[in-house]
Assembly symmetry: C2
Homo-oligomer: 364 residues x 2
């Protein structure tokens, strides 16, 4: 069985590492000959919309999936008309457009921050007559890790924020004074079997995820499961989906969803009975889904922009290193470490040590 | 950092899968272009004693290791004189010759079954005047999975057993009426750091390992650690070493040791904080060794000669499949499954289910 993946970055790499012991083979389409998953399968090197390469991918792969949501609609449609693609193009189309995404959340009764569509300075000014400051202006598409976003503190910020977007359609949303950020990783198979991981509690800095911690028995688990179930069912979704949420005083508000394996679920490699990567594969191949039960108390720390010395990291008890084989570069995720501990207290200490190492090499 | 491995079978494959997240690259020397680790690194295809390939391996790898003990002495010596090789040739030389091995155990006060060297029918007859029946005649070299062994029930069996060996030097040893078979996996790094895994309790059938179960807090742990420590220190050993032992009424008797990662340690992939494969790499690269603490109650079941249907296996809760990407063939190890459970009782039930699947496809 051969799995095709659009993209050959670290998510594809971790999918391939999880799938190799299941006897799966991989074929990747990525513009970069150096993409870090390439060594773990057969690389097709070229643009994501190269018709020849897409035809090869569709022909050679038994099922196609992807590691990012910004797949051009025509590419997703082409692949879906030639082979099995999971998740389906509809989920991609919604996830890659913040306005469609928020509208979809609204339509299926998942709460979101107040928001409005913006396609001109006038419409932004108009929107801010009903939304309160501070608010955030975000491009509808292509945003990730905080890119394409501006904080609006007062009416004085509107013109410069809009100009920064260079005319691309946008959405403005109320800033949510959240208590914490969480995400739920859920999986739905071709047959409709659904499993949920325990909530991840996430810490961002500079718009980039830094630390995720598994929160078994979190009081918000049930509410998160109810929202993400609705997403999975309404989209007839197949694969792993990550829903990012803000918690405000015991209520969850949806931020965005990712139709793929997700950075906030990397702790599942060691910290769950079955990793998100293996379960994504099981889901798209219609195999029984694996248990999502937590294994100990687990957390993950991202390494951004630089790498710690391997010997320093591995000297931290229970630390597991996951290097992505990517050249360090400002703001680039180059590795993560997961850690499992017997108690929450021990976990906090280990996370502090890892985060200190991460801060030393972080140039962002 | 590039690690060279002599052999590209399932052990090399699992080493490479463990090492890829550590940012390591691999180069394999194996006679078979289809060897199952080849896809996870750079394959050198040819004989183990091909001087050109060995020179390439020595030049391109920062450190060389192997997945089997039957490396010709001149190959091990050649590599050791050109690059770092772990474990060192001495451990190989001893492990590949049952007489040297037993003599070495004897010299460092590790108990063994009574034994004698055999190089003719006369010497076999002579030996059996002091050893009791039943006894086992084994070729000194090249034996694995019960190959090259004959059970001697009475003096009537001596001639035919000797003839079966076709004149190769042998060793005859007393049959040990053991209560159980166990093994201990130990690791020693270049710096001399040593860690031990909890004992594996092993079930063989037809000379082939079928099931290994992690026995945390086993009363024999300390005795096993004391014996294997002696081996590691006396050999100035670097890497993973597996010592197979018989237990008779609270005493351990050494059967043999393997100077490499070992089938009875495959449960460590999911069942220990750090797998034997990762710790072998940490040891030979002189990195801090990882914790060997058990994670839940873990066991492993081998699939010999045939493969279960993936969907049937993955439907067993907590089962983790490790396919070796090898064509099924009589008596050939083609996969294993590990399983973790919260209690020993639950573990027993899950092992029974896995073993039933294994028996269905087993043609041996």
């Amino acid at each position: 069985m051969r799995v095709g993946i659009l993209g050959a970055g670290q998510l594809a790499r971790m999918i391939a590492l999880a799938g190799t012991p299941l006897g799966l083979e991989f074929i990747f389409l990525d513009p970069s000959a150096d993409a870090c998953a390439n060594k773990l399968g057969e690389p097709l090197i070229g643009d994501y919309n190269d018709p020849k390469l897409l035809a090869q991918l569709a022909e050679r792969a038994d099922v196609v999936t992807y590691e990012f949501e910004n797949v051009p609609a025509e590419v997703a449609e082409f692949l879906a008309s030639h082979t099995q693609v999971h998740p389906a193009p509809k989920a991609l189309a919604i996830a890659q457009d913040r306005l469609l995404e928020k509208t979809f959340f609204h339509d299926i009764d998942i709460p979101t921050p107040a928001y409005a569509a913006v396609d001109s300075l006038e419409s932004l000014e108009q929107a801010m007559t009903t939304l309160c400051y501070p608010a955030i202006l975000k491009s509808r598409t292509q945003g990730y890790d905080g890119k394409g976003q501006s904080l609006l503190k007062s009416a004085d910020d509107l013109k410069s924020a809009w100009e920064l977007l260079q005319g691309v359609p946008a959405v403005v949303e109320a800033f949510v004074p959240f208590n914490r950020e969480v995400s739920i990783i859920a999986v739905r198979s071709v047959s409709g079997e659904i499993v949920f991981y325990p909530l991840s509690e996430n810490l961002h800095r500079g718009g980039i995820l830094r630390v995720s911690e598994c929160r078994a028995d979190d009081p918000m688990q049930q509410q998160a499961e109810s929202y993400v179930s609705r997403l999975l069912e309404e989209l007839d979704y197949v694969g792993v989906l990550a829903l990012e949420l803000f918690e405000m005083d015991g209520h969850l508000v949806a931020n965005e969803f990712a139709p793929r394996v997700h950075n906030s679920g990397h702790w599942t490699i060691e910290g769950a009975e079955t990793s998100q990567f293996e379960n994504h594969l099981r889901a798209i191949l219609d195999l029984p889904l694996g248990s999502t039960a937590p294994v100990g108390n687990a957390a993950m720390v991202n390494f951004i922009g630089g790498l710690p010395k391997t010997e320093e990291l591995l000297a931290i008890p229970h630390a597991h290193l996951h290097l992505y084989d990517k050249a360090p570069r400002k703001g680039r995720k180059v590795a993560h470490a997961t850690v499992r501990a017997e108690s929450r207290e021990q976990l906090s200490e280990l996370v502090k040590k890892l985060a200190a190492l991460a801060d030393q090499v972080d140039d962002s």
